[in-house]
Subunit: 417 residues, 2 copies
Amino acid sequence: MALSNIQNSNNKSAKKVMRQCDQMAEFTAMKGGLLRAYLTPEHKQAHKQLALWMQEAELETWQDSVGNQWGRKVSKNPTLPTLIIGSHSDTVSNAGKYDGNLGVLIGLEALSVLADVDLPFHVDVVAFADEEGTRFNTTLIGSSSVAGCFQQDWLAVKDKDQITMGEALTHFGLSPDEVGHDARTRQDTLAYLEVHIEQGPVLEERDLAVGVVTGIAGAKRYQFTLRGMAGHAGTVPSDMRQDALCGAAEMILAIESYAMQHDVVATVGKCDVKPSAVNVIPGETTFTLDIRSLKQDVLESSTLELLAQLDVIAKRRNLSIENEQLYKAKAVPCDITLQKLWGEVVEAETGKAAFYLASGAGHDAMVMPNITDIGMLFVRCEKGISHHPKEQVIESDVGVALDCLVAMINRMAVKYS
Amino acid sequence: MALSNIQNSNNKSAKKVMRQCDQMAEFTAMKGGLLRAYLTPEHKQAHKQLALWMQEAELETWQDSVGNQWGRKVSKNPTLPTLIIGSHSDTVSNAGKYDGNLGVLIGLEALSVLADVDLPFHVDVVAFADEEGTRFNTTLIGSSSVAGCFQQDWLAVKDKDQITMGEALTHFGLSPDEVGHDARTRQDTLAYLEVHIEQGPVLEERDLAVGVVTGIAGAKRYQFTLRGMAGHAGTVPSDMRQDALCGAAEMILAIESYAMQHDVVATVGKCDVKPSAVNVIPGETTFTLDIRSLKQDVLESSTLELLAQLDVIAKRRNLSIENEQLYKAKAVPCDITLQKLWGEVVEAETGKAAFYLASGAGHDAMVMPNITDIGMLFVRCEKGISHHPKEQVIESDVGVALDCLVAMINRMAVKYS
């Protein structure tokens, strides 16, 4: 699909959101590229701009204890808890303009569109100040504070300049002692909605503007170390070798094959050989595994099965194998009712059957189940590229996503009244 | 086999050779390890020591144009051209004591044992001053000069301190203009014999002290670059990936499997992934191939077949593949008559059937066919380890090799008279 072939919808709001994404990208610490990290001058400037736009949309605005920017569409007669719509405003280094920011700006524009409609609940739009973990390697700081799961020991984590998060909060004008004290509760929150670029190629492949997210995959990461016997590439016969790279190669194919046949994605992203010489049989190989599934039980059982397969291969090849778990995150399903509502609005707005897909990447929505139900909508992005200057969305898709979000808020007003 | 369990033979000469290997290892540029490179003070000192030992064995001694050390057992009535016995005296960095040096010292000791025997030919023992290429990355300098294939452009090659080989020759007291002018000819050379450690595990595996070398394998080296598509480890479905590492893994296994089934050894010694992140699908992988065979035609056909197999894999996986040839050396067979003679003496000295094996590593003998027939004998080394301080031989094996060499010289005296 050539994106240029797609007619832009004549959607003034979509154009506005696209322009705002461009404007947000100007708040950057990186010459010729986009980098906006937590508790930096760019964070402050970007949120100041967001606050102005929020005020133009007649929202009440404030910055919370951890540096998130909020705008509230106040209901005259709130009979229900508050609906939160959000995503993040921080970026990775040399980032694209849409990851996170698009969701914030679509949320804001939806409230602008609904300015004259009174809803039975307040609607908050929030720009979480850190999701990527670019500065402190600790991800989801903004949403964790709101969801009541900010970990106090994060305050001692240092950035590359040895500044702790606590010190950075103080420099920013915030009080480390108060972080998380304004967390929302289950009682005062109706739901959390997030619009985000897909960061994968599935919607493009299926020629769909948007897709309903079924949940956020759980993930585990391991590093494996295989040890065999280094040796002279010319003098050790094939059948007397204990080649750690050949062992790793068999394991990498086993992992690939397993993922093809099961409800997981699995990736070997790193592979390092020792001694790494053209004429020496590899004596040691380390490689990583990243395995994800939307179904936590499938993730657990698949990981066990794969680890067992790797052990069998190592044993047969007379290699030692060690593994170290680097990371784990549980699968987070999206609320079924919210999925169904998203499905209805997508069908109504696009005239096509709604497409449901899991998110392999992590999002702020991951931590929000701590206080409320979550519902996510993905927007097609070109070639699935993200975390890169080439990250791109189509204006007409932004229009579709915006229409869906407006319709979703209206349906929730009906559904939950 | 525990080497310590093997009774040392009561062989005074073997003990002497072992002691001389230890003494030679003292001429080193490396604290706590062995490093003796071409045209260095250590080269000069080691060859001075060799010359002394040669003189003790009543040999005529001289240094040739390229810095090789010679000792000649002069025949009273030479009816045949000169027999050359040799190996190299230089080492890699952090080397073992036996690679090269053992062959020189066994040759020297054989002539010492035969001091009172008049042969129908002169016998020269030579310590080639460079085989490893440690200083100039140009290997086989010493033997190439003798065999008439020293390349004059080597004189311009620089070491890491930007000193050319020509300058180094001058500093050493030699004349760059004269290098190779004292090359031997086919007319004045009967044969070239070399005793060398195996540098592989085959003799140890078969519990044999020595083995007859059938030839020196030809080798080709390539670097392959595979390009696919990098992507997010969580968001790109398995069946939409172009994973350059999975492609490389399949190729590495194909290479391993091919080598098992054909008369080649093949090694992937290096494998590097880009971007090399735990959560990113590899977009590019480079790996090397080192393939060797004693049979030049097998090497050629196997290389073609393997390259074709890799192309098929790349195509099926929608990856681009490029290759760059890094190195090639033709296979060099040992002379059939000399192999047969070695076989006879090995059977006579050990009481076991002679075992024949190819050399996967390069040796000085590789270039000598330019002027004469070559014959090589391998000595078992512990676990096949070489180019490492752990390089080890058994004294009794050295005794066997020495006895075989003495018997070989005697048989040649009969055979060629």
